[in-house]
Amino acid sequence: MSDEPVAIRSDRAPVIEPGHTFATVTDKISSIVLTRPTSTGWLVGFGISFLLTMMMLYAIGYLFVRGIGIWGVTIPIGWGFAIVNFVWWIGIGHAGTLISAILLLLRQSWRNSINRFAEAMTLFAVSCAGVFPLIHVGRPWLAYWLFPYPNTMNYWPQFRSPLVWDVFAVSTYATISLVFWFIGLIPDLATLRDRSENHWARIIYGMLAMGWRGSARHWHRYETAYLLLAGLATPLVLSVHTVVSFDFAIGIVPGWHTTIFPPYFVAGAIYSGFAMVLMLAIPIRKFYGLEDFITERHLQNSAKVMLATGLIVGYGYIMEAFMGWYSGNRYEAFTLWNRLHGPYAFWYYMLLTCNLVIPQLLWIRKLRTSPVALFLLSAVILVGMWLERFIIVVVSLSRDFQNSSWGMYYPTRWDWMTFIGTIGMFLAAMFLFCRILPMISIFEMRTLLPEAEVKE
C-alpha cells in the first residue's frame, strides 16, 4: 500500500476512502455478486417489485383486450399518464448518460464510482419509458408503422411529426446506452469469469466477456471505443429530451407552444435523473457497505448538480409565467391563469413547492452531506418532476382554445397500475442488476487508487 496521498483538495471528501488497494476493491465489489449470499431483504425487495411488474403486465394485457378507453384519457385530454410517465422516465435516464459520457469527457474521475449503476438506471428507465409510446396508441398492434421500413403498403412515416423524431431519438438513445453500458462491463465481466467458482456462472460470464484477456492491445482498443461511444452519447444527453420537448413545443396548444422547452426539458431531465441516482445510491451504499466507494463527495456533487439544474428549471417556470403575461396572447394568459387558479391549481403549487422551494435546502452544506436528507429531497424532486410533466401535458390540454370543449382528466386504476407497475419493473431490474453484475466499475475504481498513479 502506497503512502502517497490521493491528490485531492483537503476540504473535500475523497472519492474513495483511504486504505484500499487493487485487491480490496476487486474483492469488495466482486464479492457482492459472487460470494455474498442472497439476503432476505433482497428477496423481499425483488419479490415486491416483481409482483408490481406482473401487475403492470396484467394492466397492459387488459388494455390490449379492451382499448385505451380503460384509461382516463378523453377529448380534449388525449394524452394522460402514459405520456407523463414516458417523459418522466426518459428524463430520469438522462443522468446516467450525463455521468458516464459527459463527465468522462470532462475527466471528472469521481464519476467512476457511480457511472455503472447510473448507466444501468438509464437503461432500465429508458425501458420503462419505452413501454408507454407503444401501449398508448389506439391500435398498438400497428405501432411499428412509426418506423420507416420497406413494405408493400406504399406506406412511409410522416416525418414532419415530432412523434417520428421521438422514435429515432429514443431508439438511438436506447441502443447507445445499451452498447455503452455493455462495453463498459466487459473488463469486469472478465474479472467475474476469472473469479467465479460456479461452473455455469463462468460459462455465462465468459461468453459475455467476449474473450477479454486484459492485454495491452485490448485495453487500447477498449479505451478508444469507450471514448468514441462517450462522444456519441454526449449529444444524446441534450438531443433526446430536446426532441421529447418538441412533442409539445411543436404543438399549438397554449402551454405547449414554447421555445424555452428544449433547454428547460434537458435541465429537468438531469434534475430528476440525479435525484434518481441519489435515491438508488444512498440505499445501495448503505446495504452493501459501499460507503468507501460512494462517498460523501459523490453525494455532494450530485446535490450540487441538482441545485444547479433545479435553478434552471425554476428559471423555465418563471419564463413561462412571464411570457404568459408578456406575449399579450389571450390564450397563453389564460393558461397561466388556469395553472394558478384552475381546477388543477393545487398540483401546480405542489409542483412549485417540490421543484423550486424545497430543493433550495440544498444550499445548506449539512443537508448536502446527509444521506437521509438527500434521499428525502430526491424523492420530493422526483415527485415534483412528475407533476411538472402532468401540468404540461394534462393541464394545458384540459382547457385550450374552445371553452365549449374544456374537460377534466381523471386517471383510472389502470393508469395507476401501469405507472406503479413500471416503477416495479425498474426496481426489479435494478435488483437483478445488483445481484448478478458488478454495480460499481471495478477496473475504473482501481484507477482512482493511489497505486494507479503512474510515476514519471
Partner: protein, 1014 residues
Amino acid sequence: MPQPNGQTLREDVCPGKKDKLVQLDLANRGQRTEPTTGPQYWRSLEELAGDPEFHEKMHREFPRGASEWADAVSRRGFLKLMSASLAMAGMTACTKQPLEPIVPYVRQPEELIPGRPMFYATAFELGGYASPVLVESHMFRPTKIEGNDLHPASLGGTDVFAQASILGLYDPDRSQTITHLGAVRTWGALLDAIHGPLNVQKALAGAGIRILTPTISSPALADQLRAVLKVYPQAKWHVYEPVNRDNVLEGAKLAFGQPVETRYQLENADVILSLDADFLYAGYPGFARYAYDFAKRRDPDAGSMNRLYVVESTATSTGGKADHRLPLKATEIEGFARALAGSLAAGANGAANSQPAKFVNAVADDLKAHPGSSLIIAGDHQPPAVHALAHAMNQTLGNVGKTVVYTDPVDANPVNQNESLQELVAEMRGGKVDLLVIMGGNPAYDAPADFGFADALKNGGIPLRIHLGLYNDETAELCHWHVNRAHYLESWGDTRAYDGTVSVVQPLIAPLYDGKSPLELAAVLAGQADPNSHAIVQAYWQKQHPGADFDMFWRRSLNNGWIDGTACPTKQVSPRAANLGTSSAADSPGIELSFRRDPSLYDGRFANIGWLQELPRPMSKMTWDNPVLIGPALAERLRLNSKDVVELELNGRKIEAAVWIQAGLPDNSVTVYLGSGRTRAGRVGTGAGFNFYPLRSSAAPWVASGVQIRPTGGTYMLACTQGEQTMDTPVGARPLVRVATLDEYRKEPDFAKDEEPPAELTLYPGFPYHSELYAWGMAIDLNKCVGCNNCIIACQSENNIPIVGKEQTGLGRHMHWLRVDAYYEGDRNHPKAYFQPVPCQQCENAPCEVVCPVGATTHSTEGLNDMVYNRCVGTRYCSNNCPYKVRRFNFLLFQDWETPQYKMMRNPDVTVRSRGVMEKCTYCVQRINEHRIDAEKAETKIKDGELQTACQQSCPADAIVFGNLNDPESQVSKLKAGHRNYSLLADLNVRPRTTYLAVIRNPNPELEAPAERS
C-alpha cells in the same frame, strides 16, 4: 372513477352489447311442454319454450317470408336468405322490397343501380303532425332520412325526431312478435281470440268496446275508426297523448267558439312575440317551416330583419334566438298577456299591471307600429286564456290573414284529451269496458298520475286488453295481447302536415318483424278478415279521387310525397266577445314546477333511440338524463349545486332527482322534462333519467305550483357535453361567437373581421388550391342557426357515428362529428344565448396533419382534411393539436359490430370505424365523390347547390351553406365575401375552410340603449 349510485361500469356501456332481452318464457316452459321421459333435445329456444310459431315454422319448413318470396332468386341469394332467416328467427327476409308497388322519387333513376341509393318520399308523424321526408334507400334498405325539399312543410328541413326515426326502424329492442300474456303468438291466434268477444259486442252494439289512440291526423285511419264506430255504434274512441294541445284547442274554442288550427306565416312578420311558445324546436307542429321562415328574415343584408320577443318560463332555444327575452314564471305569463292586451286596448280587461312594465310597453309600442306584420304566438303550455288573448291581439293588430291564418284542425278527432282519458278511466273502473284496444301510445307510463290509468288497466277487470305498439312497453305489460306495430318505414298509411297537406306514408322495406299497422288492427275491429294497409289507404283515396286517372294521381302523390289540394283552406273565423274573466292565476307563492316535452325524447316514446338519448339538449347540453333545471338565483338560495340530488314533493307525491343549474330560468321556477325514467323502454332507455310523470296531474299538466325541493345530500353523475357555456374567461372574453346589433353592424359592417395573418407565414410550402377545379368550403350563418340540433343527428345518421353511453359521454368521449355549442352571455339569470355549430373546420394549414406520425390525416387537392382510418394507429396527437377539438376518438369499440339490424342501417358509403381510430367530419366526402363521379361522366362540373352535406341538407333554417370556393358565383363564395364572415381563431393562421357569419341582433332601442353593449 367512482361510480355514484351504482351506475353501470364503463365496461358495460355499449348499449348494443348488453345481453339480449330474453323474450322467451323459458321459465314457464314446463307448463307447455308435455311431460317427457328420457333426455330432451330441442332445436331452438323457441321450441324449448313451446312456441307455437316455431312449430308452425317447422311445419311450413320455411319461414313465411322465405316461402312467399315471389321474385326469382339466385341460388346464392337464396342460400343467403335461408341462412339469414333461420339464424335470425323472427327477422325474416331483411332486405325484401314490399310486395306492393312503391314509387321512387324523381330525382333518382327509376331503376335500381347497385351501389346507387334511391330516394322515396314518405312522412314521419309526431303528435299527429307529419314531417314530410325523403328516405335514402340502399338496395332496399332505408339508411337516411332527409327533408322533402319540395314539400311546403319541410322545404328540405326535418327535425331530430324524424332524422332519428331510422334508428327506431332498426332498433333491435323493438317488439318483434305478437304476445299473449308474454308468450309468443301468431296474428291468426289474435284474430281467433278477438273473434268471440267482437261477436258478443255486436249484440251489445259495441257498448263494451273502447279504443284509445294517440292524436291521429291520418284520414284513412280516422275513416277506419269511424267505420268501426259505425259497426259498433255504442263503442267509443278516446284520444290521449301526454304532450297534447288541449290548451290550444280550448283557447280556440274560447276565442272563436270552435276548434281551429292556427298557422303562422313567419316570413310576413316583422315583430314576433312568443308567449312561452317554443316554436323553433322539434316537436312544435310546423317547426321545420317556421324555422325556415324565421331564419329567412334574419339576414341583415337582405331585406328587413324581424325582431323576436320571447316571454318564457323555461330556457328554450327559441328564447335563445330572441332579441329580447323575458323569463317569467309560467303562471305570470297570463298576467303579462293581459297587461299587453290592455296596452294594445284589445278589449280584454287589463289586469293589474304587475309585470315588468317597461317590457310590456316596449313590446306594445313595437307591435302597434307593425300592424299586419306582427305576430303573437301562445305556447302549448299556456292556459286557454292566453291563447284567446293572443288570438284577440292578433285580430286587433290586423295580423289575421297576413301573419296568422286559421284552418280546420289537422287532428282528425279534436277532443280535449285529458277529459277523454279521464272518461275512459272512469269507465274502466266502472266495469263498463269489455274490450280495450290501445292503438299506440303508452298511457300506463305517461297518463296523468291522478287518473291511476295503470292501476285501472291492471285491476279494472277488463276481460280483453289489446295493445299495439312499437315496443313491448309499460302498457303492453298490462295488456293481455301485445301486437308488434310496424314502423312507419315498413307500413302504409297517411298523415297530415301542419298545414293539412296529406302525405301518403309508403313503406321502404317489408316489415322486419311482421308488424301490423294501426290501419290493419282497426280493419280487424271493423270486421275485415285479412286486412292489408296498402289496400286500405288506396281504397280510401280512391274514394276521395274517384276519377279514371286515379293511377296517375296515386303515382304522383307517392312520387311527390303529398296529395295535391289537401292543404286545409284558410278559414274565416270571428272572435266571440269572449269573457276571459280575470286572471285565473293569482300570484302563486312558492316554487313552480314546469313540465315540458323533452327536447330529445319528446314524451318518452324515443327513449330507446340512442342517438336521441345522447343528443345534447339544446340549452343545457345534457345527455342521457333529465335533471331538474333550476335557475342560478334559486339554486343559490337553496344551496344547491349541479348534480346534487333533491327530493321534489308535490301534493304529497315525492320523486328524487338530480338538479342542474340552468341559466335563464325565471326565479322560483324549476323545469323538468318528461319522458325519461322508463322501466320497459329497451336496453338503451330503461333506467335512463328520471320519471316525472308521477308528479303530473290532469289539473296541472304543464305547471304546478307549490313544489317543495329538499336536498337529500347525495350527488348524481350527469353527462353534459359542453365544458363551459360562456365565452368569458378571467383574462377576458374570447371572440368565438361575434355579435353586434343591427345599428352597430350598419355603422361598422366589418366588425367581425380579424386581421388574417399573411398566408406565407408557415414553414411548409403552400398549395395552389385556387387552380384546382373545386375548393370546398362552408359558411355557417350563426344568425340563422336556431340551435335545433338537427345537423347533429343528420351527421350521425349519414356517417355511421356510434353512440357511447352515459358514462363515456360523461368522460367527454361522445362521438358527434358536429357539435352545437351554446354560449351564454351576461347575467346568468337573464342571459343572451348563442348557438354555434362546429364541424371540422378543414383548415388549409391543418395543425392536425403535421403532427400525425403515420400520415393518417392528409390534405386533398380540393382542400379537404381527409382521414385515412386504415392508416391511423391512434396516437391522438392530432386531436390534442386541433384548436377546435372536433376530432373524435374510438377509445373503446364503440361501434356495434354484431347486431344484424345495425348492419342494415349503416350508410354503405362510409367506413364503419373500429376501436383505436380517430375520426372526424369529412364534409361528407362520400357525397362529394358521388357527385364528382357523376359530373366527370357527364363531362361537366358539379353545379352549385346540387351537392349538399348531410348537415346542410337537414338544416331547416338554411344556416349551413357548402360549396365550391373556386366558383365565385357559388352561394358559399358570396357568403364568404360578405361583411359578416369571420374565421374562428383566425390568428392561429390555420386558415379554416369553414367560416361563420356573425350574429346580428335586432334589439328594440326602447329596451336596450345602443351604448349598453361594449
